[in-house]
């Protein structure tokens, strides 16, 4: 205990000039990074930068008024008030310009802050005025936290507590007006007043932060910790706490570095914070680059999984040795193996020793893909695609296999039974399972179904709702459907009529859809 007091006393004696900047800097980093959260979320970063630049003119204006009118030299409160006024004036002018003209906000900000900053710089450069101003302008331009006075420390303490209290007290209004101003207004929150409150807080933290980093760099103290925190969490209250923590940490590390290498504090601190940001950008658990990369590389593309299913069902039916699967699917082996594991987890296939077997659902899914593939092949043949490229193209296109697309192709092609190579196109096993009504045109030879609805186009056929039909082989062109009614009469339908007949398939024991010989349409 005794040694601690001794150590502190020694520290006070030897390093006294460092304690003040540490306290001041900690306070400033804290408030800057807290207010920064709302600035980042409202996309006001550029506006904060503008306020920072404009305050130079405000400081000089405040200095001159206090000196000329009241004869006070370098009056702190006067300069502070001038800076805040300049900040608010800048925001008001930017709002005015965007309202009355077609100039967009980013341009208006650019014009106004350079203009007001220039006005300040112009004022001090005139000899007669510059002679009046006995402040070191470079302190304001790049900041110097080492030169902070006791008077400033107290002023900053008051400013910081004011800002922190406002943010804590008005946390909910600040949150809701940032997130949904229309709703905020509808429940009676004075949105405009909250906006002004935030602008005032921004001006205050900018004015404070200038002591550390100067007008050019101060915006980094505000937005860099907040942006870092934004990458780490999904909750605003945690974001504010994290941002404060990162801001203070960045300041301490940067300040330590300043002492160690004897550099200028402002730039060193800002560079440190930027490095922290980059580190977080790289490593953040959810929104970081690395996490994103890992997520993407462990993601098995849907295509690979579909190719695995397709390869198995195309081989011998539903069993295939794993080495063969690896060979059949054009993708890195590790990725294919991961696809197999994922498919097994989804119960689409079962792994037994070194071979895989399709489950019932897996088989249905694979059949669906084969159906899509062969319909695409038929479509490509019809659109005049060169026959040697058909298979490869259809292989890419089969991944577009959503119900609507496949139904469209099937209908457009006249519900073909075979693809251009003469192989059977499987039926849509879900639609023809008897669970739902389908168009009669989707049925194949041997299917039985009950008529559920007859649309006008099929009126002339003389069929009646409720009667059963059996599907006969289609006629030579494949575009004439032949049906047998339950009374034994055979009826021929064209595509439109077959579409207009809505039926409920009656499931049969054996799946005849796949068993139709290709000669059916020859």
């Amino acid at each position: 205990m005794n040694s601690l007091v001794e150590w502190l006393t020694d520290l006070q004696l030897e390093q006294g000039h460092l304690i003040r900047p540490i306290i001041v800097g900690t306070l400033i980093s804290l408030v800057c990074s807290v207010v920064g959260c709302f600035i980042v979320l409202r996309r006001m970063s550029f506006l904060a930068d503008a306020i920072a630049h404009a305050m130079l003119a405000g400081v000089i204006g405040g200095y001159l008024i206090m000196k000329i009118v009241f004869g006070r030299e370098a009056h702190l409160v006067g300069m502070l008030a001038g800076a805040i006024l300049a900040g608010i004036l800048t925001v008001a002018l930017i709002g005015f310009i965007t309202r009355v003209s077609r100039i967009k906000q980013d341009t208006a900000i650019g014009i106004m802050y350079t203009g007001i900053f220039g006005l300040g710089a112009l004022a001090v450069s005139i000899k007669s005025i510059g002679g009046y101003v006995h402040i070191d302008i470079t302190h304001y331009i790049i900041g110097n936290v080492l030169a902070v006075t006791n008077e400033e420390l107290w002023l900053l303490a008051v400013v910081s507590s004011l800002v922190l209290c406002s943010v804590i007290l008005f946390f909910r209004p600040l949150q809701i007006t940032s997130f949904d101003p229309v709703m905020a207004a509808s429940i009676g929150i004075p949105v405009l007043a909250v906006d002004y409150l935030l602008t005032a807080c921004t001006s205050l933290v900018v004015v404070s932060g200038v002591r550390v980093a100067g007008v050019i760099l101060v915006v980094a103290l505000i937005i860099t910790p907040a942006a870092s925190a934004y990458l780490l969490t999904d909750r605003l209250n945690r974001m504010v706490l994290l941002s404060a923590f990162i801001g203070i940490l960045g300041y301490w590390l940067g300040f330590g570095l300043t002492i160690a290498i004897g550099s200028s504090p402002g730039p060193t601190i800002v560079v440190t914070m930027t490095l922290i940001f980059l580190l977080i950008l790289l490593l953040a658990p959810r929104y970081g680059i690395l996490a994103d990369w890992i997520r993407r590389s462990s993601l098995v593309p849907q295509e690979v999984m579909e190719d695995v299913l397709g390869a198995i069902v195309r081989s011998t039916g539903n069993v295939m040795a794993i080495p063969q699967v690896l060979q059949a699917v054009t993708a890195p082996n590790r990725r294919v193996q991961r696809a197999i594991r994922l498919l097994a987890r989804r119960n689409l296939l079962e792994c037994e020793a070194d071979q895989v077997r399709l489950t019932e659902t897996g088989q249905a899914e694979a059949t669906r893909l084969v159906r899509a593939h062969r319909l695409w092949e038929t479509y490509l043949a019809q659109t005049g695609e060169a026959s040697e490229r058909i298979h490869e193209k259809a292989h890419q296109l089969e991944h577009i296999s959503d119900q609507q697309t496949v139904d469209y192709l099937d209908d457009k092609l006249g519900h073909p039974i075979t693809d251009p190579h003469g192989t059977i196109i499987p039926v849509d096993s879900v639609q023809t399972s008897g669970q739902q009504d389908v168009k009669a045109s989707m049925l194949r030879r041997g299917n039985r179904a009950r008529i559920e609805q007859i649309l006008p186009a099929a009126n002339r056929l003389g069929l009646s709702v409720g009667s059963e039909i059996t599907v006969l082989p289609r006629s030579v062109d494949g575009q004439t459907w032949n049906l047998k009614t339950d009374r034994g009469t055979a009826i021929a339908l064209n595509h439109t009529e077959a579409d207009a007949l809505i039926v409920r398939p009656i499931p049969t024991d054996e799946d005849e859809g796949d068993a139709i010989p290709a000669s059916d349409v020859s």
């Binding site: 979320l41 007290l169 949904d180 709703m183 509808s186 999904d234 605003l236």
Partner: protein, 261 residues
Amino acid sequence: MIREQPTTESAISINHLTVSYGPVPALLDVTVDIPKGKLVGIIGPNGSGKSTLIKAMLGFVKPDLGEVRIFGREAAAAKGMVAYVPQRGAVDWDFPITVREVATMGRYGHRRWWQDMSRRDLQIADQALAKVRMTEFASRQIGQLSGGQQQRVFLARALAQDAEILLLDEPFSGVDAATENAILEVLRETRQQGRTLCVVHHDLSTAAEYFDYLILLKQRMFGFGTPEQILEPQLLCDVYEGNMKVFAELSGTRSAGDRSP
């Protein structure tokens, strides 16, 4: 113009409302009385002022002329009586906020700014989430939801507000059929409790089935009445300027009866 004289108490009454953003009015001389306890659709072509009408009912835009009254009170003074579900495009989905926090936001209007949310408030928010079947996603960040789920979260927020009037800006856009039915179910339930709902809607083919009354809008009021009165080819032709696609959709869907539950 078709006007139905409401027999019941009117929830929202709009008189000669004119709103402009520059030389062209977004709304011109809109007058309508929306009866209490009804599900009302607001239809009209793109840019016809539907969203502006919603914002005027919220008291968020200042009318150049005329007024909106909510149960006899001026819209700007009727804070908290009107809940609002924004258009999906109007929300920042990267905002650091969870599903439960959005629902809890519905209770903000019931507490003064210095008061904490009570346990009862959190309960109401959770009940609202349960009602739209989003409980299991309560701690998700809102950007990590599907379009339909996102829509349901904001619906939950509106329900948690416990407001007399709910305004919804295109709640059915970009959601799948199942979600559309789920949302409609909740809307009908809310109407059953005597609440009034106004829904901006763009799908004419479902308008007749979904709503008790329709407002047909294109800057001006082109009609207010039952769907049978409003979905008149001649009237629609005037408003949509003979955009035949609209009518093809309308008649096509009606005859096939795809949408009927």
